[in-house]
């Protein structure tokens, strides 16, 4: 596995603690080119922490992180921007890398916010800002995308469109995506690998594997399990009528 050229980032038994309190412990996972890995888990289960370990934001960690790319796009879950800065959407787009005008325009068009290009960042709504964040992350054509709840605050139709966009980007750029989401419905249809966290890895595998796992059922309930299964069925094109679950 370690000789695999496609690996972008790999965590081995990684953990992070603050003052002897473990935020997350013993996480092993890897993100490969063209694959989407989704982290799920209840609040406080260490999803964002795991993402920050993978990104190298947390440095004093237990275990190991091997990162094989510097071309990273990151959409953080929370972002506080200080409005003592006069910052337009355009300035934010070129924050970490100088980009061609056409790349900026393309990314902003893809997430549907091209009309906001010269607006002050502080004047955007929550959903608009979220779209700009996603546009910024994809505009630099990264090899690794880390998306921490990338569609929070986005309207329902926008949400579906943005998830489709994320899937499309993963295919077109052949980039690896580490995705954190609460929205099991929309996410699971596109995910290659699911890691279910609860302070540690409670289970992981393909969506169907995870759905069958008893620990997952205990954590999320029977209904959530059915959601995952249904998407797996849709993949296999064998589901018949709505709501009906057939186990393979």
């Amino acid at each position: 596995m370690s000789t695999n050229q496609n690996i972008l980032v790999k965590l081995k038994e990684a953990g992070f603690r603050v003052n002897d309190k473990w935020l997350v412990k013993g996480v092993s996972l890897q993100v490969e080119k063209g694959k989407i890995v989704t982290l799920i888990g209840p609040n406080g289960s260490g999803k964002s922490t795991t993402a920050k370990i993978a990104l190298g934001i947390y440095k004093k960690i237990d275990g190991e992180v091997e990162k094989y790319t510097d071309k990273v796009g990151y959409v953080p879950q929370k972002i506080s921007i200080d409005w003592t800065l006069p910052l337009r959407v355009y300035d934010f787009m070129v924050l970490t890398e100088n980009l061609k005008e056409e790349d900026i325009n393309e990314a902003l068009s893809l997430t549907g916010v091209i009309h906001l290009k010269n607006k002050n960042l502080g004047d955007l709504s929550g959903g608009e800002f979220q779209r700009v964040l996603l546009a910024r992350a994809i505009s630099k054509k990264p090899e690794l995308l880390v998306l921490d709840e990338p569609v929070q605050g986005v309207d329902f139709t926008g949400e579906i469109a943005l998830y489709e966009l994320i899937k499309k980007i993963s295919d077109e750029l052949n980039c690896g995506i580490l995705l954190i989401s609460h929205d099991l419905h929309t996410v699971m249809s596109a995910t290659d690998h699911v890691v279910c966290l609860n302070g540690h890895v409670c289970c992981s595998g393909t969506p169907i594997d995870v759905a069958k796992n008893n620990e997952y059922k205990a954590l999320f309930g029977e209904q959530a399990s059915q959601i995952l299964s249904r998407y797996e069925h849709r993949h296999d094109h064998i589901h018949t009528s709505e709501g009906e679950i057939k186990k393979n």
Partner: protein, 267 residues
Amino acid sequence: MFDDFFIRALFAGIGIAFVTGPLGCFVVWRRLSYFGDTLAHSALLGVTLAYTLEFNIALSVFIISSLIALILIQLQKKTNLPGDALLGLLAHSSLAVGLVVIGFLTFIRFDIMGLLFGDILAVTVDDLLIIWIGGALILLILKLIWKPLFASTVNYELAEAEGLNPDRAKAIFTILMAAIIAISIKMVGLLLITGMLIIPAAMARNISSSPQKMVLYSIIGGLLSVGLGLFSSLEFNTASGPSIIAASLLLFVLSLLNIKQSIKLKN
């Protein structure tokens, strides 16, 4: 041409304004005005050291200010005191120690007022060279670290995640702060240097819509303040530092009118 003390002072001021413009923007953006104050207060210690050891003032101030910045970083790591308390502690204790040391140096006549508030008569051709060469170096280095420094000012984690090494940029910026204080102390005086950093940048914030514009307006504001301040200093025989700062305050007040107008337009 540089025989005239006023021409020398004017050129020194212009050189300083070019550097305080962009640095001042970062001081405002990163909320470092008290940090700048602390470094400036510690400069007095640097000056006394320079006199005692017959050393170049700018270099000595630069070394002491950098040292104080290092001590601050260590104290932040090792104590539980809040940042502003540590800043106050270092600012006032280094100022006090500096003044006490002056008390011992009875064999040297000190122009305390000149040190605190700046003295245009004191600017020599050597000082001009230090200001222009040092200033050019500061601007060059700032340009090199602009991307990581600005990105981490907007959001530290984004800069770190996307591989920009914000910690290194921050450390270099701290050294640049010590350097600008070192080269401008004679002209503006140690009590007012932070004013020269903050007020033109604050004025620029009121009238700009992008970071680049804010830097540009901040430089222009600084240049106007220097010109206006020095001419009135000559005219009314006032200290150069306070005159320059008062001029920049005037520009700041004018920029407030712009805010009022834009608020009216919005409604």
